[in-house]
Symmetry: C2
Subunit: 303 residues, 2 copies
């Protein structure tokens, strides 16, 4: 048996060693970068780089991130953790003041992106100009039941406003009706528009509305349609991300596609569970609490 004190020491040492190997002992200038550029080969896994930082982050988390955080930076926040998170505010009643606050937090903590509704993309783009934080927006959100033509137009409009990442909702009803070809073409239409601007696409499959077979089919269709990520949840359905779903999704898409966990992620422990199961990006509205390692508090749902 290893004692608690021995475990603490081991965790600290492994954490330090990981940090040295990552060259991450000073605040990383490359934080967030590399995550979002498809087709860049990762030296660790020889896959697209979307996996790289996340694999390292999962290792860091497993090794005890609190210890790492304390030694890596002068603040309590681990930049590798922050760089996993899409800082999200999608509730319809969000005001301009709340969007301004969201973007300020994203700059301060170094989140991968802010995820906002399309109406706010122009404002967020202005607020984040000159920062590495990307502006992510949602398409066909949250029902996924608009037409492909609409999703394509909505994507093009969002890109014109400055969106740098696209989270689209798959057509769940079409999938549940057996219209796999329609689902694939719907995703492919958005991917085509986005990739033409070198913008990545995450496909929300809304796991809470699917059985396991349907989840596997959805992930396969997203991969066939050349999506960059599959993502669990909108935050508007009854359930959010689970470790079991993340594992299923990762198993289906393999290492070359990202997996984003979203919906109900409220704490550092939730993030650790999700990355351990295979998630390479996290969607959360409780992002500040998460990176500060605060205990899980009031419900947040990525909404």
């Amino acid at each position: 048996m290893i004692t608690s004190a021995e475990m603490d020491r081991l965790v600290a040492e492994i954490g330090d060693e990981l940090l040295r190997r990552m060259g991450n002992a000073t605040p990383a200038p490359a934080r967030g970068e590399g995550l979002n550029i498809p087709d860049k080969i990762c030296p660790d896994c020889t896959q697209r780089c979307v996996q790289t930082c996340a694999r390292k982050s999962a290792a860091i988390i497993a090794a005890g991130a609190d210890r790492i955080t304390a030694s890596a930076t002068t603040t309590r926040v681990d930049p590798a953790i922050a760089a996993l998170i899409d800082h999200t505010l999608l509730k319809p009643e969000a005001t301009e003041a709340e969007i301004v606050k969201l973007c300020g937090e994203a700059r301060q903590y170094g989140f991968a992106s802010v995820c906002v509704n399309p109406y706010w993309v122009t404002r967020a783009t202005g607020l984040l100009r000159g920062s590495p934080v990307k502006v992510c927006t949602v398409i066909g959100f949250p029902l996924g039941a608009s037409t492909t033509e609409s999703k394509r137009a909505e994507t093009a409009a969002a890109l014109r406003c400055g969106a740098q990442e696209i989270d689209m909702v798959m057509n769940v009803g079409a999938l549940r009706s057996g219209n796999e070809e329609a689902v694939k073409l719907d995703i492919a239409a958005v991917v085509e528009v986005a990739h033409a601007h070198r913008v990545i696409v995450k496909v929300i499959i809304e796991t809470a509305l699917l059985d396991d077979n349907q989840k596997a089919i959805a992930c396969t269709l997203a991969k066939l349609a050349k999506a960059d990520f599959v993502k669990t949840s909108t935050g508007f359905a009854k359930g959010g991300a689970t470790a079991a779903d993340i594992k299923l999704m990762r198993d289906v898409v393999g290492p070359s596609v990202g997996v984003k966990a979203s919906g109900g992620i409220r704490s550092f422990e939730d993030v650790a569970n999700m990355t351990a199961a295979g998630a390479t990006r996290i969607g959360a509205s409780a992002s500040v609490k998460i990176v500060e390692g605060a205990p899980a508090g009031a419900r947040t749902d990525g909404y």
Copy 2:
């Protein structure tokens, strides 16, 4: 005091008298018509006809619709009640089989329309060809936070697919940020596209997210933007229609604009309360139970 038996007799007599005055003693061939054609002058109120049937229906309900129903048709269903209702199925996981069932029920009972997500408009249009039941769809739904450009494109796409009524969601976040001009232009853009096809527009203000002043401002902006209806709720927010909100909305828009109550309307009594408060259209998924006068049962939310 009037006894219960006297009340029953009175209700029955008033019901019969109303039916005679409406010329509605046989199944009405014009059921549903007149409700949806803007600019047709109503002989009763000299306003646009969108008000006419609803005023009569409210009177019927007040006079005891069960009695009327029994004498007016060979079924238990009152066509004037059915013609008030947009038979609604907007949950993202709805399958083709459920859309087929919805359209069949709408034909059978004579609902004003089916209200479906844009992806299903083409299918519903095919299923309802040759019937007076319209196909209504939703735009910017349910968050209202897409761009005006997207809402315009989504509306145009829906019209090409055959949509005959448009329920759009107002930009709630913009309103709550004081951007009234943006809110008005957003509505006006959709109205312009729809009216060019002689298709009416209902504006969902999502009452659950607004205070009373904001509700009044929202209704005013919808009226200024030449919307045909204001509507309470998407069914996706925390609350749905209330009689108090319907009264407020009716007071603000006056008699020339329709008011649609939606969200949480589960029973015949709910419909009666809403029409008494000023509603001229009802959105419901429990429509069959409502017109059959079934007691309120499991929760439905217009979703």
